[in-house]
Subunit: 217 residues, 2 copies
Amino acid sequence: MKVIITDHQFEHANRERGIVEGAGFEMLEAQCKTEEDLIAKVSDADALIVQWAPITANVIAALSNCKAIVRYGIGVDNVDLDAAREKGIPVYNIPDYCIDEVADHAMALALAGARQLKQTEERFKAGTWKIVPPNLMNAFRTMVFATAGYGRIAREVLKRAAGFKFHLAAYDPYVGEEEMKENGVEKLSIDELFDRADILSLNLPLTGETNHFVNAD
Amino acid sequence: MKVIITDHQFEHANRERGIVEGAGFEMLEAQCKTEEDLIAKVSDADALIVQWAPITANVIAALSNCKAIVRYGIGVDNVDLDAAREKGIPVYNIPDYCIDEVADHAMALALAGARQLKQTEERFKAGTWKIVPPNLMNAFRTMVFATAGYGRIAREVLKRAAGFKFHLAAYDPYVGEEEMKENGVEKLSIDELFDRADILSLNLPLTGETNHFVNAD
C-alpha cells in the first residue's frame, strides 16, 4: 500500500509518516503543483493526502488503485468531487481544522478595520498624536455583526463578536431561525444581510452557489 | 453661577450647555492648554469641566469661587487632587466613560499583534501571498492573556478575551483571588504577571504607584 502526500507546506510530515509507516504502509511526499505533475507522480497511489494540488477529473482518471483522497483542511474545492464519486473514490476532509484560528483571524481583521488601527497608525507615523479616531465611529453595541454562512467557523466568529456586544446576525438558508435564536443570533435573508450588516464576515464553503457571492455590482 | 469648560475636543458642547443653562446657570467654553491661560480665564468659575487642561496647584490656588471640578473621563491625573482636597473642592470623574471602547481597542491591538496583521500585509504588499503567517504562532487556547489592573476596563478586556479561549489572568493587589476566580480569572503576583503573560494589557490608573510600571529594564 502506497500513501502519497501530493503537496504540503508544513516543515515536515513526520507525524503522517509515523502513522502510515507504523501501519505497515509506504509513504511518499511529492510537491505537485500541476495536473501534469500529479498524473506523472501519483497515479499508482493507494491513497492521496492533498493540500492545494488540483485533483481534477484528469488526475482522477489517471488514478489506477486509489481508495481514498484526504484533504488537509475543511474545503474540498480543489478536488473534483463528481469525478471522484463516479470512480467510487471517497473524499475526506478535516472538518474541524483551524476553526478557532480562522475565527480569531476574522475577528482580528474586523476589529482592526472597525477601530481604524491602520489609519491611526499612519496618522501617528506622520507625526500626529490624537486620541480621537480619524473617522466617526459607532459604538459596537449599536452595530450589527453578521456572517454569511452559519457553519462551524461562523458560529465561532459570532461567539467572539458577542463579547464586544455587537448585535449578532447570520444569513444561511440551510439553518433554521430557531437554531440561530438559541445562540442569540438573528436569521437574515440575503437582502437583509447586505442591508443591515455593519460588519460582514464571509464564512462560506466555495461552491457553485457561493462563488462570487459578493461581486462588484 | 458660572460653569466653565476649560477645554474640549468635541464638535460642540450643546448638550452640556442645554443642561447648565436649563438649570439657570451661565456656561462658557474655553480652550485652555496652559496653567497661565487657565489662571487668566477660569479663576472666577463656580465649577470647572475639564478634559486635558492641567489643573495644577497654581490653578487651584487661583480659583476664587470654585465648588466642583469635573473631569470628562475616568482618569484624574491632570488634576492636582491634593491641592483640591486642601481647598475643599470636590473632584468628580466619569467612572464609566468609554469602558467598552477602550476594551474594544485594547483587544483590536492585541489581536492585530498576535495574528501578525501588519507583517502579513507588508508581505502581501511586497507581492507575496501566503496563507501561513510570517512567524510561528501559538493557538490562543494555549496562551495567557493577562491584565495589569483588574478594574472596570480590565474586566471588559478579559470578557472579550474569553471568547478567544485564552487562559485569563490578572495582577491587581487590591482585588482578592476569590473575586477573580468567580470571573474565571487567575490572580497573579507581579512577578508571575511578567513571567507568564503571553499578551499583557495595561489597564491601570496613572498614579505614583503605577507610573513607569513597565520600564526599559
